[in-house]
Every structure is written in structure tokens, then in C-alpha cells.
């Protein structure tokens, strides 16, 4: 076992973990943050996407011990102070989700995409979220949601551009 210290959604955590434990299982099983999902075992689906030190990662693709000393943001921590992040709001408004299983990963990928490229065209949005599989929406409304979120973030840049800017 190895001890790790990770700041998750603004709260400092410290646990003994098995060296082979994946970050996603640490989040789900140890911290009870079940909003991060597991949809595959080959790092293809992106349902487990979280932010690690401000960058999107597939949390099934790294060990919990690799996150030692890092800051992790999961879907549960995205709505700062109970106020939905513009990307969350836009997914809701544009019907960017159906069953909701891939949604947390897609939302965090979209947050990461818009931080790197605040004004993406449709091509850039589709390329930017191609690491996240959604079987319900055909991506049509996901693209609309990201476009809408980009407009909102451009109108209120101080609001939410980076998760770190949200006080984490």
C-alpha cells in the first residue's frame, strides 16, 4: 500500500491505496465520487475524464498514486458554489445528453477544450471531443452545447474559463 495526498474538488484527501488502483476507482470507491464513470477498459470511451492540475485526463488511464500531490476536479466539483458551470448549463439547454452516463466526461472534456481554444469552430469542437464516446446523441446537440458554452464564456470570461480560476 502507498499513501497519497490529493486535493479533490478543493478538499485535501489522504489515503493508503494499492499501487495498482486506478485513479477512477480511487475517486469512485474510496471517495464515493460516483459521477466519474467507467465505460470501457481500453481508455477509448472518455466517461472517466477528470481534470488533473487543470488538464483533462482519462482517470482510468493512470494510477491513483500518480495523482499524489495533484489537484483533481471531478464533475461533482464543477458547479462552483452550487452555480452551474456554463458548459453544464449549455448541455442542459441544448439537450446535449440523454442517458447521462458519458455526460460528466464529455462536460469536462468540453471545459478543457474551451480553455485551450475559447472560440472553436464546429470542426475544432468535433476534433476536441472525439476522445469521448456518446451512444445516445449522435453528438449533434453536444456540439451545439459546446458552441453555446463558448458564447457564454466569451460574454463573461471571468466567470469560469479555468477550473483553477474557480478558487481551486
Amino acid at each position: 500500500m502507498a499513501r497519497i495526498s490529493v486535493k479533490v474538488n478543493g478538499t485535501q484527501q489522504s489515503h493508503e491505496v494499492e499501487p495498482r488502483q486506478l485513479l477512477v476507482h480511487y475517486l469512485r470507491d474510496v471517495l464515493g465520487l460516483t459521477g466519474t464513470h467507467v465505460g470501457c477498459d481500453t481508455s477509448q470511451c472518455g466517461s472517466c475524464t477528470v481534470m488533473l492540475d487543470g488538464r483533462t485526463v482519462k482517470s482510468c488511464t493512470m494510477f491513483a498514486v500518480q495523482a499524489d500531490g495533484s489537484e483533481v476536479l471531478t464533475i461533482e466539483g464543477l458547479a462552483a458554489g452550487g452555480k452551474l458551470h456554463p458548459v453544464q448549463e449549455s448541455f442542459w439547454e441544448e439537450h446535449g445528453l440523454q442517458c447521462g452516463f458519458c455526460t460528466p466526461g464529455l462536460i469536462l472534456s468540453a471545459v478543457g477544450l474551451l480553455r485551450d481554444d475559447p472560440q472553436p469552430d464546429e470542426h475544432a469542437i468535433r476534433a476536441g471531443i472525439e476522445g469521448n464516446l456518446c451512444r445516445c446523441t449522435g453528438y449533434h446537440n453536444v456540439v451545439k452545447a459546446v458552441q453555446s458554452a463558448a458564447r457564454k464564456l466569451a460574454a463573461a470570461p471571468a466567470d469560469a474559463g479555468s477550473p483553477r480560476a474557480q478558487g481551486r
Binding site: E18, R20, Q21, R28, G32, L33, T34, G35, T36, H37, V38, G39, C40, D41, T42, Q44, C45, S47, T74, I75, E76, L78, A79, L84, Q88, F91, W92, E93, H95, L97, Q98, C99, G100, F101, C102, T103, P104, I107, E122, H123, I125, R126, A127, I129, E130, N132, L133, C134, R135, C136, T137, G138, Y139, H140, N141, V142, V143, K144
Partner: protein
């Protein structure tokens, strides 16, 4: 009183979304119970073998392991085979057991289960279970399995034939084809697919010995069906003590309808061991255990008269059913397929015969569309082949053959009666949206520059609103296909609806709330829609076959009408008026002509629960239950058009535009209907271009991960251009038809036809799906080689 805005027909934001966008959904694997143990299955690496010996001694000795069980242990422990829910005459039904006994029949079949304190420990121990097999000959291809001398999958089905089924009039069809001016003959393969809902299947069972209650959380589209079949037939556990909960379910597409081996085992283990037991599939397990879809090989003869009018259609299909009969497998390639071969055309003679065949592959059952996409692909692909052979424009050929709107209800040659339809406007609108004439000019221009554009049409019909119970019962269904709904008005006027429909992405909490709020004149926030729990919902048949609006919604509608009727009687009594003089509008009962003399729904409801002043003949309370059994299917239809560009140097196809005009009857929430169509289109496009469950000769799935199986990604698809026409269904009072499967049914042939159109300069007339770059490139190379010779 404020005017109440009508909600039905509006794009209302979904009520279920706040929990999903904030990570607070509750999917089966999210449910945590103290003391839970984890099950991991040891699976066959061989497609066909005799189990000689299973040595679990090393696994048993592994840290944290609680137990290891084999198929024999479960059989000895009273676990029966999983039954078939649809019987055809002469159907062969080999035992389908939760864990194999003696023999395995496909790769991935469970041979033992390990239960340990954590999933990781169980997985470690599962690798220590040693299984000795004696390999047996394997057959994967259904056509090969029917040949004399083919390896035999089950002793009880000597020629590997599970059933032979026919529909239509053979003599009439043969005569029509003999008399036809032109008969188009083709052989079409509808390849096998895997649903791949993004949430892998999971189950968690907990047994309370004090109360003898068994609770199962499971990824199910129909928890009551799970309870009935598992309780009564498989486990022999009393239905009334068995609670099945399908919480948030992450997509189904048919694959979560069926009773699966793993959930049977988990429910048995929880009782056997006295601890909660959980199993969650890894995706690699999903690929070899989730029921798969499609897999037909068909010989088609389509006859035309000299004027390009359809004269007759004859179809012979071999349907690969896999190693066992899954719950509804027999009805998919028969009553959900052969009966749809009429399409939306006037075909005077049709005959179809189907052989259902066992092979050493994963079982096949309903996958989004289930039989109807196979019928639509067959018709629409053949219509395009015919248009070329007849030298007729593909849109014109379709236009000439559409059933005219005056002929509804329309009796087909294959048993069904179409409820309502007006097909020509949808075709015309789609052609207009895509700019059909202009496209042909652009296409000709582009070809001169070595750029190969193609356009493909698909006119589709589907049968939704499954289904009249008496009809399906006479055809072999071992269930009724009605739906139930209870509407409970609480003393405060708040409303709980208990529906037997199950939402796994369809947004029922929103659409059903719109319906209830409109009818009762109350805010949507006063309505709670409860589904997916046999402990709360009285009964239900679940969600599949695009039935929730048409059947589940109508059941709610009926209960709402009963609530209003009782409310009117109560209000009349309280207002000292005759019930006929009381009207219900915008949430208020009032005396006609004296609008100030009235009672709100909440006032009436409170009076019903106080019961201090009840009219004679009425019981206290305000709660109504209805079971709605539809009188017919509903038949949505439409036209889809795909525009592609094929890069003949790489074989890669880009989907450039996608136009869809659908008619799903009345629409409760257009945003949700459009979303259903978008997702359906993506799945159908993917069948045309990328997806294929491919087995090698040894029965190994060679596309067994998301690295190999072509699930569509965002950068492979365009945004879709959609519109609709509205032809209400006369079958139900809501006038709705169903939208869940339309996109999948229509889009596969549209894209296939578009690619063939693009490749027409090379003389390529047909390629089987998926139209991968490799396949297209090889065809183009072969065609070019031919030119050079």
C-alpha cells in the same frame, strides 16, 4: 387565475438533467451497500468445447475469496435455464444456463464465478481457476451452419436450425415475379452489430433473511419483466418478495431488455452467501456477453412491371441467432422483420421465409430497430439497385410506388395494417432540403475533377407502439405488451405517476410530466414520475420498440381521465351541482356559466382524502390505475437522404450532409424527439460505414474492444438537418407514433446508397457493409484493374 400555457408540443428542458450534469445520477454500479462482495466470472476462451474439469482450489485459497461456483453448483442449487419469451412452431430451445454445465457454446460464456471481498481480488482469483477443455468443431457462419455435415452446435437441433418461418403468399408471389417485366435479384448481408450502451451492464443483489426479501439493482429496460422471469422461471423465488430496481440506466438500445446469466447468478449468490453481491461488466466482457444484433444473409427477388411499379417481392433470409436463444430472439427476424417487408410501397405480392440458425457465437436479439432496420435495408438497397437496372431515377422509382394517402388504413401483404400515413410530402420535403436537382449537377461537375460525391435515399416505415397483446399472443409471445400507469393525486394536489415504462435516456420524467401537467393544469414541478422499481410501480412491460409514448403515455392519459372524472363527481358534490354541469379547466373544477363557483384540483383532492363529504358510490382517495393495451401498432415513416464524398485514393467515405424528414405522429417534446432521431441516425450511419461484430473461423470476436469496433466519434459525423411532417396516429388518443428507432432504421440504407452512388462511375453496383476504407479501396482498385485489362 393565470392562464396556463400548454406544455405538450414544447421543447421543455429535461427535468432529469440537473442530476446528470452534476454527477449525481445513480447508475447501478454507483449503488454501494455495506459488506458487498464482488463477483467475477471465469469465461470460456473457446467457442465450442466440452468442460472436462474445473479446478478452483488455488482460487479458493486466494486472499479475500469467499466462494467459487460452477454451472453444476447453480443447477444443483435450483437455478433453472433462462426461458425464451417468444415461441414459434417447432422452435428448438436448448438450455440457456447462467453458467455453462458440461459444454460451452461461445467464447465468453461463463464457466465459473468467483466471489471475493473486492473486485480486484475476485479478478486475481478468477485467473487462478483452471479449466480443462476438450475442443469441439466450431461453426460461426449461419449459411455454413445449415450445410450438411456442419459442426453441430446443439444435439437438440440436428441441422442447427432453430426454426423455419414463412409469411405471405408464395404462389401469388411466384406468379407475380413470373409475370414481371423485370426482376432484380440480389444477395444482401446485414452484418452483426453490438449495441455498446456506454454504461456496461451491472447488477447488485441483496438478500434479507429476516424478511425473505431479495432486492436486485440491475441495468434493465424492463424491471418487471426481469422480476417475473427471474423469479418465476429461473430462480423459483416468489415474485412478491423479489424487488427489482433499474435505477438510472446508461443507454440500452435493446441490449438491456433481456435476462442475462450474470444477473441470475448474482441474485442467486446473494441469497446463497448472505451478503450483497455485485457484478459490473468490463467492456471486454460486454463485447462477448451482451446480446448482439442483426446478422442476416438474404436472397432477394424484386419484380417490376413495365412502368416501374412493384409487382412482387420474394425474400429468403438466414438469420444467425448465435449459441442460445435470448429472451425475444425468435420474434426479431420473424414478426419484427418479415412483416415490415412491405415498406411504404404498394407491393401486390410478398413472400418471405426465414431460417433461424444456431452458431458458436454470442446470442443475437433485439438491437435498436430490431428486425425493422434489416427489412428497411433490404428494401431500400434493392430499390436503388433496381433504379439503376431499370434506368429510372431513384427518387422517381420510389415516388411511383408509394402508398397514396387515400388508402389508409392500409392492409399489407404481410399481415400488418398501417394506421395512417402520407408518404409523398416527406419524400418531397427531403428532396427539397437537400437540393436534389442541384446536387446532380454538382455531382457531375465534381466527377470531372476526380471528386466522387454520392447521394442516397431511404424511405422507411417502422412499426412502433408494441403491441396489441392478443395479436402478439397469437403469434407466440409469452407476454402481453400493454402498459400500466398509476396516477396518485396526493392530499395537497401534488401528483405522483407510477409508470411501467422505463427511461434510459428517453427523458420520460420530462415528457410524461408535460402530459400530466397539461391535463391536470398544474405546474410540472408538482409532478413526480416514478419508474424502474417493482417495489413502487405496480406493473410494467418496460421500454423498447418505441412504445413508451404510444403505450406508456396512453396508459397515463387514461388514468388522468379517470382522475378528472372522479374529481368532477367530488367537485359537483362539494359545489352542490350536477356532475354534468361541472367542467375541468386549467386545474380547476367549476360550474358551467359560474366560473367563480369552483374548486381547485388540490381542494378536491384534500376533500377526497378527508372524506368528510363524499358523494354516494365513491371511495375516499384520488388515485387511479390503468392498463392500456393498444389496438394496433403505430407506423412512423419518413425519408432520409445522405450525401457522401468518397476519396477513391484512400477508400475513405466522408458523410458530408444528412437530411432527415420524419413523421412520428404528434410530438410531445420536439427537442427530445429530435435528440432520439440524431442518436438513431448516428447508429445507422455507423452500421453503414464502420461497425461490424466480426468473428474468425475459431469463433473469436476480432472486433472485441472499442479499439477495434467502429463506434462513431464526434469527428466522423456532421450535424444533421431535420424536419418533420405530422400525421397523427388514430390508434391512441395522444396521436403519437414513436421516435426511438426511426433514425437507425432509415440511415443505414441512405448512407449505403450514397456510397454506391458515388462509386457508380466505377461500375460498382453493390458492396456489403460496413463500407470501410479498405473495402471501398479494394473495390475501386479491382474496378480500375478491370478497366486496364
Amino acid at each position: 387565475m393565470a392562464t396556463v400555457e400548454r406544455l405538450v408540443g414544447k421543447a421543455i428542458r429535461r427535468r432529469e438533467d440537473p442530476r446528470f450534469i452534476t454527477g449525481r445520477g445513480t447508475f447501478t454500479d454507483d449503488v454501494k451497500l455495506p459488506g458487498t462482495h464482488h463477483a467475477v466470472f471465469v469465461r470460456s476462451s473457446l467457442a465450442h468445447a466440452r468442460i472436462v474439469n474445473i479446478d478452483a482450489s488455488r482460487a479458493m485459497a486466494h486472499s479475500g475469496v469467499r466462494a467459487v461456483f460452477t454451472g453444476k453448483d447453480l443447477a444443483d442449487g435450483g437455478v433453472n435455464p433462462i426461458p425464451v419469451g417468444w415461441l414459434l412452431p417447432g422452435l428448438k430451445t436448448p438450455d440457456f444456463r447462467a453458467i455453462a454445465v458440461d459444454r460451452v457454446h461461445h467464447v465468453g460464456e461463463a464457466v465459473a464465478v468467483v466471489v471475493a471481498e473486492t473486485a480486484a481480488l475476485a479478478r486475481d482469483a478468477a485467473e487462478l481457476v483452471h479449466v480443462d477443455y476438450e475442443e469441439l468443431p466450431v461453426v460461426v457462419d449461419a449459411v455454413a451452419a445449415l450445410r450438411p455435415g456442419a459442426p453441430q452446435v446443439h444435439a437438440t437441433a440436428p441441422d442447427n436450425r432453430a426454426f423455419h418461418w414463412e409469411i405471405g403468399d408464395l404462389a401469388r408471389t411466384e406468379s407475380a415475379l413470373r409475370g414481371a417485366a423485370k426482376v432484380v435479384r440480389t444477395r444482401l448481408i446485414n452484418q452483426r452489430l453490438i449495441a455498446n450502451a456506454i454504461e456496461p451492464r451491472a447488477s447488485l443483489a441483496s438478500y434479507h433473511s429476516g424478511t425473505d426479501e431479495l432486492t436486485l439493482w440491475v441495468t434493465s429496460q424492463n424491471p418487471h419483466v426481469h422480476r417475473l422471469i427471474m423469479g418465476a422461471f429461473v430462480l423459483g423465488f416468489p415474485e412478491h418478495n423479489f424487488r427489482v430496481i433499474a435505477p438510472d440506466v446508461g443507454g440500452g438500445f435493446g441490449s438491456k431488455i433481456f435476462v442475462y446469466p450474470e444477473e441470475v447468478a448474482v441474485a442467486w449468490l446473494a441469497r446463497k452467501l448472505g451478503v450483497p453481491v455485485k457484478w459490473t461488466a468490463q467492456r471486454s466482457e460486454s463485447f462477448v456477453t451482451d446480446m448482439q444484433g442483426r446478422d442476416h444473409v438474404s436472397e432477394v427477388e424484386m419484380g417490376f412491371d413495365a412502368g416501374g411499379k412493384l409487382a412482387g417481392l420474394r425474400v429468403k433470409t438466414v438469420a444467425n441467432l448465435g449459441a442460445y436463444l435470448s429472451l425475444f430472439a425468435p420474434c426479431v427476424p420473424t414478426y419484427l422483420y418479415g412483416t415490415l417487408l412491405n415498406g411504404l410501397y404498394d407491393i401486390p405480392a410478398i413472400q418471405c421465409e426465414v431460417d433461424g440458425v444456431f452458431t458458436n457465437t454470442v446470442p443475437v436479439d433485439a438491437y435498436r430497430g430490431a428486425g425493422r432496420p434489416e427489412a428497411c435495408y433490404l428494401l431500400e438497397r434493392t430499390m436503388d439497385i433496381a433504379s439503376r437496372e431499370l434506368g429510372l431515377d431513384s427518387a422517381e422509382l420510389r415516388r411511383r410506388n408509394l402508398i397514396s394517402k387515400e388508402r389508409f388504413p392500409f392492409q399489407t401483404q404481410v399481415a400488418l395494417t398501417y394506421d395512417s400515413g402520407n408518404y409523398a410530402p416527406a419524400l418531397a420535403r427531403a428532396l427539397q432540403m437537400v437540393g436534389y436537382e442541384r446536387f446532380r449537377a454538382e455531382q457531375a461537375e465534381a466527377r470531372k475533377k476526380g471528386k466522387y460525391l454520392g447521394l442516397g435515399l431511404s424511405c422507411y416505415i417502422e412499426a412502433c407502439g408494441l403491441a396489441p397483446s392478443q395479436v402478439v399472443g397469437s403469434l407466440g409471445a409469452q407476454a402481453g405488451l400493454y402498459e400500466s400507469a398509476t396516477v396518485r393525486v396526493h392530499p395537497t394536489g401534488k401528483v405522483t405517476v407510477l409508470t411501467g415504462s422505463h427511461s434510459h435516456g428517453q427523458g420520460h420524467e420530462t415528457t410524461f410530466s408535460q402530459l400530466v401537467a397539461d391535463t391536470l393544469g398544474i405546474p410540472m414541478t408538482d409532478v413526480d414520475i416514478v419508474h424502474g422499481d417493482t417495489g413502487r410501480v405496480p406493473f410494467g412491460m418496460g421500454t423498447y420498440g418505441s412504445r413508451s409514448g404510444a403505450v406508456g403515455g396512453t396508459a397515463i392519459h387514461m388514468s388522468l381521465q379517470k382522475i378528472i372524472d372522479k374529481g368532477r363527481a367530488l367537485a359537483a358534490h362539494l359545489l352542490e351541482a350536477a356532475p354534468d354541469d361541472v367542467e375541468f379547466k386549467a386545474g380547476r373544477f367549476s360550474v358551467k356559466g359560474s366560473p367563480d363557483r369552483g374548486k381547485t384540483l388540490a381542494e378536491v383532492s384534500l376533500a377526497a382524502y378527508l372524506a368528510h363529504k363524499m358523494p354516494a358510490g365513491h371511495e375516499p382517495g384520488l388515485e387511479m390505475t390503468s392498463f392500456y393495451d393498444p389496438s394496433n401498432f403505430t407506423f412512423p415513416f419518413g425519408t432520409h437522404i445522405a450525401v457522401v464524398e468518397v476519396d477513391v485514393e484512400t477508400g475513405r467515405t466522408a458523410l458530408v450532409r444528412y437530411v432527415a424528414v420524419d413523421d412520428v405522429g404528434n410530438v410531445i417534446n420536439p427537442m427530445i424527439v429530435d435528440g432520439q432521431l440524431h442518436g438513431g441516425i448516428a447508429q445507422g450511419v455507423a452500421q453503414a460505414l464502420w461497425e461490424w461484430a466480426s468473428y474468425d473461423e475459431a469463433g473469436q470476436l476480432t472486433t472485441g474492444s472499442l479499439m477495434d469496433y467502429g463506434l462513431p466519434r464526434a469527428d466522423q459525423l456532421p450535424s444533421f438537418e431535420t424536419d418533420r411532417t405530422v400525421t397523427p396516429s388514430p390508434v391512441n388518443p395522444l396521436g403519437v407514433k414513436g421516435a426511438g428507432e426511426a433514425g437507425t432504421i432509415a440511415s443505414t440504407p441512405a448512407v449505403a446508397n450514397a456510397v454506391m452512388d458515388a462509386l457508380s462511375p466505377f461500375g460498382i453496383t453493390h458492396l456489403d457493409l460496413p463500407l470501410t476504407p479498405q473495402k471501398v479501396w479494394m473495390a475501386v482498385q479491382a474496378a480500375r484493374g478491370g478497366e486496364r485489362r
